[in-house]
């Protein structure tokens, strides 16, 4: 997979394959943003990626704001959906998570607070038309 990268998914099985392909190129220190409407499949995609690292308890952090999973690598999984203002992210110490370059960070709804996001990141946008028609676009920012 090289960026920018565009893939269509016509089924859940297609999405699993895209997630597996993406899992094969991610490394410690990466910050990965997932944007897309409710129901687009952001959490499902992350769950599939994390399974490749022996994380089987991944779940939506919408209410917890951040989940931590320890598999072959440590993962932090954020969801900005319920965040009302940027200061709430500093109140939970988001810089400390960003400083941990031995982990991989996923952020759902990162587009809600773009000013908080590090410059160097991978951004995934999921466009959802219907259950059998999704488009995944991957962009790398340096």
């Amino acid at each position: 997979m090289s960026f920018p990268y565009l893939r269509k998914s016509a089924s859940e099985q297609d999405t699993v394959l895209i997630a597996e392909e993406f899992a094969s190129i991610i490394k410690k220190g990466m910050i990965i943003i997932l944007n897309g409407d409710l129901g687009a499949g952001k959490t499902f995609f992350i769950k599939q990626v994390l399974q490749k690292f022996n994380v089987t308890n991944a779940n939506s952090p919408t209410f917890a704001i951040v989940n931590e999973y320890i598999g072959d690598i440590t993962f932090y999984h954020f969801d900005f959906y319920r965040i009302n203002k940027e200061s709430e992210l500093h109140d939970i110490g988001i810089e400390d998570y960003f400083n941990d370059e031995q982990s991989i960070i996923f952020i759902e709804w990162g587009n809600l607070f773009p000013e908080v996001l590090p410059k160097k990141r991978i951004q995934i946008k999921i466009d959802y038309n219907d259950e059998n028609d999704r488009e995944f676009s991957f962009i790398e920012y340096e």
Binding site: I31, E86, S87, N99, P118, K120
Partner: protein
């Protein structure tokens, strides 16, 4: 008369329990004076919350005092790791409340500059720079004196991209020091003061800074303050 009162006030502050958790060091010191202090220090990532009370207990045990003999607490107040600062401040507040003793919040970078005064010749200029997330850093420049320091550039947050241009031909301390290519020397492993220097800073500069009403004190999360100010 004022001086005598100040000295008398400071004499009532010792032994002070100093706590440092702002960066890689998780440490505590029971400090009587420059010739008599007992420190305990642990360097282990992600362990501050687990180890700080062990470090405090060890320092108290080494000092052979009862904890009720501690007269004040000096705590490293930042800038630094959000989590680390919260751990140190929570420990300080808990102990201060239970013993009814005051807290002195010690500015972390200044305590490190003060520590370095004893190492470098007078007038040496140094920079301290520690990470804030991926793209920014806490930055301050000091001129070291024999037993003091002068700010050459005030503590601020700068983008990582400006780091090189602001810090040529100087000695740099901090966990981003190695990212600067123009420095004379980089000390990337020295990014926080030792706990006894938290106490020494309080001894030298803490007169009148004792806080008895501890409910609302919090560490110096500069990043947080900037955001809050911007939004209001």
């Amino acid at each position: 008369m004022i001086v005598n009162l100040a000295l008398s006030s400071m004499n009532n502050m010792f032994p002070v329990l100093a706590i440092e958790t702002s960066d890689n060091i998780c440490g505590a010191s029971v400090y009587f004076n420059k010739e008599k202090y007992f420190s305990s220090k642990i360097i282990l990532k992600h362990s501050h919350s687990e180890k700080i009370f062990d470090a405090i207990d060890t320092a108290i045990r080494l000092a052979s005092i009862d904890k009720t003999e501690i007269k004040s607490i000096a705590v490293s107040g930042g800038p630094g790791s959000f989590t680390g600062l919260r751990i140190g401040m929570s420990a300080a507040k808990g102990i201060a409340q239970s013993l009814s003793i005051p807290i002195i919040i010690v500015p972390t970078f200044e305590a490190l500059a003060y520590q370095l005064c004893s190492v470098f010749p007078e007038n040496t200029e140094i920079i301290i720079a520690n990470k804030v997330g991926r793209d920014e850093l806490y930055f301050a420049k000091f001129q070291l004196m024999s037993n003091n320091y002068i700010f050459k550039e005030d503590l601020k947050i700068i983008p990582l991209t400006e780091f090189n241009s602001l810090s040529k031909d100087v000695i740099i301390f901090g966990n981003v020091a190695e990212l600067n290519s123009g420095a004379l020397v980089n000390f990337k492993n020295i990014s926080a003061p030792d706990p006894e220097f938290i106490a020494m800073w309080a001894e030298n500069f803490g007169t009148g800074k004792e806080i008895n009403d501890i409910d609302f004190i919090e560490p110096n999360y500069i990043k947080d303050f900037i955001v809050k100010e911007k939004k209001t």
